[in-house]
Symmetry: D2
């Protein structure tokens, strides 16, 4: 059984991510951490590795956390119990030690999951495989006298203080960089936040309030049943927030100022790694546009010679446009592996003054100067500063928002390899004017900045086609034909 | 200095309800509790009295709680630390022991306050005076070896379970009593709750969800700055909730059913003793109408020969109408003293089958069969059951909602006594067709169920005039004239 | 695999009582408790069953507790986390609910174990089998929305207060019953307590001090490595305590009085269910003598017509002597099943005024008027009161302490049944003057109060022979011959 | 009123160190820390100063801690609640932040006290005066929105790990430096520790056990009544420990080895800053001898050119002898101000390679390489290593233990100044062969290493005379005459 998918360990708690599995994973992580700390050397480590353990607000959280703690402690790691936290706060707390976050992010309430961190960064594939192997091999308990007693830690306040400080410094930079008159500020800005009954509730509204905003929340009570809306923030699940913002802004001149209306809205998922931005009309700002805004800003304010933005193959060309415009470059890495992409760019940096200034996949942002993890709370603070100083519309203005589509073509799992091999030849042949990149599927980029990506789904019997173009329908149809032909031929 | 006002001890934390005062009150309460437990007898009590200590979500809460705990523990009482709770949950937890609740209810965030409970009921005036005297006399610490170490208690889940059970039984009764077809139920009913960043957030939405409702919250994140709205729920502070409900219900046939709109809205204050009901049009249902609905229901379903509803002089005649109609009677007690009114009725009950079935002042309800304290969470659950089974409009229908006004006439504090003495004669003389009641101010009731109440303010230099009548303006003006004349004459 | 032995679940934590097993047992207990609470009826229970969870001071305790909690919570039971407790304090806390105690009692530090309680009494055999069956069948998790979040409880202070109150009442009774002049008291009595680094440390010394004694402890720091001495209190492991008491009392007239020496010493095991008494000379008082002293006292002060003492077959005839002398009767039950013996006597009580006034096996005492569990802390308090009022020597004086021996005869497990069948005939034939009881093995009692018991070991390949007689060696040898012959014949 | 004496704030909790005072001191400390963090500059500090708060095991601890927390939190400092700790563990936890320790050290159980730390070092006189001034001026609360909520921290395990690591490194050094054959080790060494029911109980025995010793404790249960013995460890209060060690070693060849007897004994005070060493015969090793042993060792193993030992005027010349012998020098500072002495030496160090290798007053040791606080737990670990590697007798051997006496001469407070002025002239005149030091009282040192010190008591109406000499009685008498004459003359 493959333990870690693109989203880590995740699934229903009665069948897949059971306490039994959590215990086994905890044990494996402890053993792996002990081996890592001992190093290859002959020195005895001075004590057990320290692992901060947190969970989101799910109903199954306390039981899964207890099981994980049992595994960690009987595996010889020292547990610091951090209670309920947003995922980015746990990542922040894992700096200088290890972290285990129990969350199924935006999955339904019946699910839970496990995310592993080391020194503020998610476990890379190699480490995940090592843990997987130990789980498979049923890692036994450590000797009884290496078992540990947990300590408690309260880390949320420290995290929020750090986000606040980062956003304050960002604000100073933004003022310098932007065209807006100085002296604009967050004070008084009215923002509506839909926490979706998740772990952003004790974080985002507090940070924004401390930065000077006036915040009204929807679904700000933490409830693992997600009663208020689906935990994944989409235009549909954010219906209430969008209507709330739109209605409140009706007839208001300067929404979010002078105590009237809301400048914008924010929607989070269950563990606050994801953020969705809603404009003053109640419309969702496209996730790639948010990426483009942040990416451009980070490149523009960077002092590095070679500022790099890391993103994923499915992310829009509008990001590349804005980054190039600002004088940086874009690197792509497979979905769910931003941390590995950041590491790869850094590894290649050599003497050159290369700096990863931002890394993101749709809805998920790594503010690299703040920390190496996806952080929706930090995004909320940074976006609030940007909106306050420049206004959402002027931020959005330079971004070209071409039509975007995503379709799935049936393809049995056992044909995927052959299909992709064929497409690696067929697609470039079919679209001769396109630049080709075959690192993660087949990605074609056209002179007018249109692009398409074809890749096999990691979890379902499909080949996915993504495209962004002023003539997106035609592009998708042409690609689909090539793909379907390849699938048909691949039938042995 | 008078310590306890009509709302208990309450005021700014930098000047009035300081940690120093909290320590002194804690000490005094411990000493008083020790004396009470020792009884008049010669027996040594077997141990220190147990006192549950909780606070609402105010910023000053932790410091005031620590100070109170220091006073209680050094006064020889055993403290059970209950953390953050709604006031009714603390009252519930105080059954069989003592309770101290740190809350300034709906006051601004700069304030805090202290409420004292014994066995589920607020301290009566006599006990308050005893505490006040000890504070004045600077109650010294107990002997060092009588000091105590606090225990921790988690009481919220138990409270919520009890509310849920009570509401479920109430639902069964409601089904029997109501005209609605059986089988109606809370399942699926959509309710919007504005927690005002107060302590209802971890209570009301949870209870309603567990009873089967779909709940969306506004300001459901607990934040002692009350960033979302003023903590006192009024038509103005509930602007967002009212707009949210009204907009969502636009064009919806059966609001709150079939996944569309909201059947009604609920607004709480900071500590969840108070409840405001908003109808499907986003209008606040008058607080006295809510009282009348509940009062009638409790009287109607009571098995007692003599069901009594206790209320306050400022409460509307519509309550009396509904209670009489249902076969009960109303008793009035001074504002802020419902618990004393309940005790008084019970004391007079004798052999007769008298039962206090409900006690309430505007916005505050004591569900006597559930417990002897004001409980806005329980009100929310009970109202949800009633709305689900019968619909808000049909509940409201039988209640006559006459126009209501309240005005304040200037009157220096030192004249109040003389003014009221005069008015006790003048007002009956001026309104000969009215029945007179001078127990709490002067209350006149007219044959057409109009009424007026004149009473001196306990905290400000005014005489208050309340009136409810189809011709309320004329009535108020006539009364005001008499009052102003009396004030003028009282100038020595 | 048989889960529950005579000592409950117990074994090494790396192999047998692992976190994995603890999780499985927790799940099973939760499921069983849910079924019990639901009853046979059709009614839904109002909420999850409540289970108090505690552990002793073992190094493996936190991990095993976390695993058990994970099992309980994912099985749908509500956990009240009580932290570290003596076993009797957990039993006390389980009244009105369920209790799970994680302890391996006096086993080495590498072991742990699980003891289950319902309403203050250990699970009977039937309930244990039900749990065992569920563990075997791998009880699945409850539906995710039935999982629970634990509450915390601090129960030690309440337990200690109750022990103190019980001992105080006992003291009053003792004064009435004893010959000692009234007015004697615990005040000032010096007692040495060897806690063996176990959970008696925060209990017994505190209770004795609060009762007025001056207590010096050995190994009073809780340490799961049991560094000070073996956890099982025996004459050998109590070497330090015995020397300490003996040396301190050298040349002292009235040891334990006037600030000099120690009146007696107390040794506990790791979880304080067991107690050993050391006299002023540093000699261990035989465990059966302690039983006889307490049994006689409880019978003598009982107001019942038919006071009964429950004990086990291996307990000495001196108990029977003292109980008979005091006007009561003795009932025997198999080892490790005192709670079942108590229940059986009560079940047979009918209209007759029968009362179980005490139940005990060597080192373990159930003070039935205090509670239905084995309680070494309560024994310490009661013994202190008795020693203070009457002196240890005068308590011991009336007890006849005949020589006692216990030997093991080799017998393969598969022959045990046949051997015991044979012995049931042979032994009575061989000792014609003896009264025979075959309820739990074969027990012969002689006219001079000598007795012998032959029973198969439950855990090892032996038949055990116990005997107590002024001529114990001869008696044992005669019995051994009969047993060895039976074993030899049983070879198929 | 002078708040801080030589032992910080200390006194009876009903009258002097009341919760009221603790609240006031907490408030003052918070305000002072805020001012310190803000610096003189114009920058806003980024957040509230962090203050770790702990208490020893006294009965009054919880109430005093709650009051202090109330003061700190309402003063605008962030409290990290550390619960019960030994004083050195709190000092260790205060590194990088502030610390408040609630302890009255070895005072009776009716007392409590307050010790303040900044970054691992006690507040110096200047800071104490600043706090005192704020208490006097009744420092008001901070603005309500600067009040804080406490975090919890568990710091004991981290402290113990650091002590263990330090002692292990020390052991390596000791092996190099000592004459003992390498390979000697702590393993198996038997040590008796009398914790006096104080906070050393969860610390010293654990550290020693983890270092490989076998530890038996007396009075190892924490109990704020100090039932086992007086909290101040003296030859009298350590009577039980001394007898226990002596008796156990009777007839044992190599006490503390091969599972027999005890190599030495350790006695601590209530908060574990103080240590007393008992030898294998049950005799207390003179506190100055312990100082001399440690001082010499630290000087000998120092790599610095100018190793300095800081001590107090009342400390014996045997320290100077051993330090000089090892190539270092001694600096003296007034009693209770070791931290100021360390700072002074460091301030004067300039470019020269000066290092304070050890600082101590009788019973209290600052292991400067470990941290800048008095640490009896660290002393216990270091002494155990030394005893294990070299044996207590060979450590003690080179130290010349001259007879020592201390007498008090009556002297009213108002004469003290005049008396000391006179003695500054008279004493040198009376003892012409002595070297004179008048920095802290008048200290005379004679050619044969005899010495005497005359100083006024800080707390009582006495002038103290200390002397150490082979002819101590004569020396004391000569000095006393001079002092008495000076007192008589000073009568105005």
């Amino acid at each position: 059984m493959e333990l870690f998918g693109t989203a880590g360990v995740r699934g229903r708690v009665e069948e897949r991510v059971t306490p039994e599995l959590a215990l086994a994973v905890g044990r494996a992580v402890a053993a792996e951490a002990r081996e890592l700390e001992a190093g290859g050397g002959t020195d005895e480590p001075t004590g057990p590795p320290e692992i901060v353990l947190a969970r989101d607000g799910r109903v199954s959280g306390p039981a899964i956390a207890a099981a994980t703690e049992a595994g960690l402690a009987s595996g010889g790691a020292k547990v610091s119990r951090a209670g309920r936290l947003p995922t980015p706060a746990l990542a922040h707390a894992s700096r200088g030690r290890y972290g285990v976050m129990l969350t199924a992010s935006h999955n339904p309430p019946s699910d839970n999951g496990i995310k592993l961190f080391r020194d503020g960064v998610e476990f890379d594939r190699e480490l995940e495989l090592a843990v997987e192997a130990r789980v498979e091999a049923e890692e036994p308990p450590a000797a009884w006298d290496a078992w540990t007693e947990p300590d408690r830690v309260d880390t949320l306040d420290g995290y929020l203080a750090d986000v606040r400080e980062y956003a304050t410094e960002f604000e100073a930079d933004a003022d310098d960089a932007g065209d807006a008159d100085d002296g604009d500020s967050l004070d008084g800005l009215r923002i509506a936040v839909d926490c979706g009954n998740g772990m952003s509730a004790p974080a985002t509204p507090t940070v924004l309030r401390e930065l000077g905003a006036t915040v009204v929340t929807l679904n700000g009570n933490v409830d693992g049943h997600f009663p208020g809306r689906g935990s994944k923030p989409t235009p549909e699940t954010l219906r209430d927030l969008r209507a709330f913002v739109a209605d409140a802004n009706e007839g208001v001149d300067d929404p979010g100022r002078d105590g009237e209306g809301y400048a914008f809205g924010i929607g989070h998922d269950g563990d606050a790694d994801r953020i969705v931005v809603v404009d003053a009309n109640g419309e969702v700002v496209h996730e790639d546009t948010v990426l483009a805004i942040l990416a451009e800003r980070y490149v523009r304010t960077s002092a590095a010679d070679d500022p790099v933005v890391v993103t994923t193959p499915n992310a829009s060309g509008r990001i590349d446009e804005r980054v190039r415009e600002a004088g940086g470059r874009v690197e792509r890495v497979r979905l769910g592996a931003l941390h590995e992409g950041i590491a790869a760019v850094r590894a290649e940096a050599d003497a050159k003054d290369t700096e990863v200034v931002f890394a993101a996949e749709p809805w998920k942002h790594v503010h690299t100067a703040f920390g190496g993890w996806i952080d929706g709370v930090c995004s909320a603070a940074v976006m609030a500063v940007l909106v306050a100083t420049e206004g959402l519309e002027s931020l959005r203005d330079p971004v070209t928002e071409r039509p975007y589509r995503k379709v799935s073509v049936d393809c049995p799992d056992d044909r995927k390899e052959r299909v992709m091999a064929r497409l690696t030849e067929r697609l470039p042949a079919a679209f001769e004017d396109a630049t080709v990149d075959t690192d993660h599927g087949v990605r074609l980029e056209f002179p007018d900045a249109s692009w398409t990506l074809v890749r096999p789904s990691g979890t379902e019997p499909y080949v996915r086609v993504y495209a962004e173009s002023d003539a997106v329908d035609e592009l998708v149809e042409s690609v689909r034909e090539v793909v379907e032909a390849a699938v048909a031929e691949a039938e042995s």
